[in-house]
Subunit: 301 residues, 2 copies
């Protein structure tokens, strides 16, 4: 089943202890689409400027990604510049230029309206809600957000949360939304706001899946080197939602495997700058790392 | 098979956001012994002062703990006072009075020399080595240490590390010993110093087990409330070593289950102040939580 994503496509300028990259193609919808396309057909909704040409569009080519939903607007593409130091768990934003993204009004091409799986990447909650309402029959709607909206437009976010099935955020964001430090109690509070499933990303410590009657943990893959953490969260979401769309099933077993696939994909993304590792990734590499996760977590009673 | 532990027995004064406890029986060897005795017979080697009477010794009674190795010296028992605030991941030491522990020279009663499993809790590395050398035929020797020795007597610690099988420390200590931030590379460096197995405790994020050809992760148990983290690490070690001693087997499968039992026991210890939760713990509670760990980590391929 196809998965639809709404979010940013951007030019990123990145600096980490391993080097730097200038104006490479990035953005949440980019990382998500490339990743999810390993599992299912993807419909992408985004906006780019007139500086985003055929050369940049190549990152989506040769994959199951329908790019008819990438609108071209007059002006420059969204630009973000960030630096990672120390433990690289958080980026320091050096510069943000919203450009055409500032007036982004997501438009869904007619064929996209049949998308069963939907991921609303981190944009203004009212825009997320407007997209969600255009897809009343979606089987599963996932949402990301950030502290900027959690603190800045909490009422808008609440209205959006009430209409989604899965919230995929990091541990700090979970604590902030709930106003509770303890993760288990924060998860219970968030699930009362709407999403029946909560996925909490914990960086190098992995991820956890909170459902009504179960909690499931995936460890972080123990990489020897993290070259660039940019896009790890959106890549995680792409693996999670992409796998669910491919399975077409929302059972507990399926959600658990989805959490592992999200972790697998994020672990590859950070091995190189930007989307470069994802672009040359193969299905057999994905399967091998999935099996590694199994061997790193399983034990016999 | 019996497990021998050498370490501190103390009076602890504890303060956390949930309350406080004054001069309760604590110390690494105390937490370890009570915990390990759920799985195997325990031989404890420690020193107390003349203020440690029958009332205090009750914590060891009615369990498979041989206390002939608890030496009584003239003077006061070791006292520690600490406070936990915020995320409670680290104690702030308010006061330390070594008292009789300052001149502790571990003496092993003759029957103890047949102990197959040995845990050298956190004391001066030269004392740990002296005990280890008295048990040349031990099947498995585990070691704990702390930054005070890692930074203060690195050469002594290296000599001790060369003679043990399992090092059980927290992530900060692992990074300091190796001088490497990346945990996987730090683990590889530490394993070259002697211990074939490295167990890294990561607080609320669980624990990991590094062996020659495998890495295994246990999540932290998602408690809704942590009342007192004191002794969590020694309780973890007691569950880990105690289970291994009961199994008498050092296979990969056994070490994995040991890591889970360590996590299970530590998760109980922190539910109440001091050793009180451990004292009223039952085997069926342990088994139930072990099964919860399985359900929180397992998935089908």
């Amino acid at each position: 089943m196809p998965v639809l994503v709404v979010g940013s496509v951007a030019f990123d300028t990145l600096k980490t202890p391993y080097g730097q990259a200038n104006e490479v193609v990035g953005g949440a919808a980019t990382y998500f689409s490339i990743t999810a396309s390993f599992f299912a057909p993807v419909n992408i909704v985004a906006v780019v400027g007139d500086d985003f040409g055929p050369e940049q569009l190549k990152v989506f080519e040769g994959r199951r990604i329908d790019t008819r939903g990438i609108e071209r607007a007059a002006g420059r593409t969204f630009r973000w510049s960030g630096e990672y130091t120390g433990d690289m768990n958080e980026a320091k934003t050096l510069d943000t230029q919203l450009n055409v993204f500032e007036r982004f009004q997501p438009k869904l091409p007619a064929p996209y309206l049949a998308s069963d799986f939907v991921f609303l990447a981190n944009i203004q909650p009212t825009l997320q809600l407007a997209v969600r309402e255009q897809l009343p029959n979606a089987k599963l709607v996932g949402l990301d957000t950030m502290n900027f909206w959690i603190n800045g437009t909490p009422e808008d976010l609440r209205r959006t949360l009430a209409r989604v099935d899965v919230l995929i955020i990091n541990d700090k964001e979970a604590r902030t939304i709930a106003g509770i430090d303890n993760l288990r109690r924060a998860a219970a509070a968030i699930r009362k706001l709407g999403p029946s499933t909560l996925v909490v990303k914990r960086g190098e410590y992995g991820a956890c899946l909170f459902q009504e009657n179960s909690i499931f943990f995936a460890p972080g893959y123990p990489l020897e080197e993290v070259h660039d953490p940019t896009g790890a969260g959106d890549t995680f979401a792409g693996g999670f939602m992409g796998y669910l769309a491919s399975a077409g099933d929302l059972s507990d077993g399926c959600l658990r495997r989805a959490l592992i696939y999200g972790s697998v994909m994020a672990s590859f993304a950070v091995e190189e700058f930007g989307v470069s590792r994802l672009l040359r990734l193969t299905r057999s590499e994905i399967d091998a790392r999935f099996n590694e996760f199994k061997s790193m977590t399983h034990f016999e009673v």
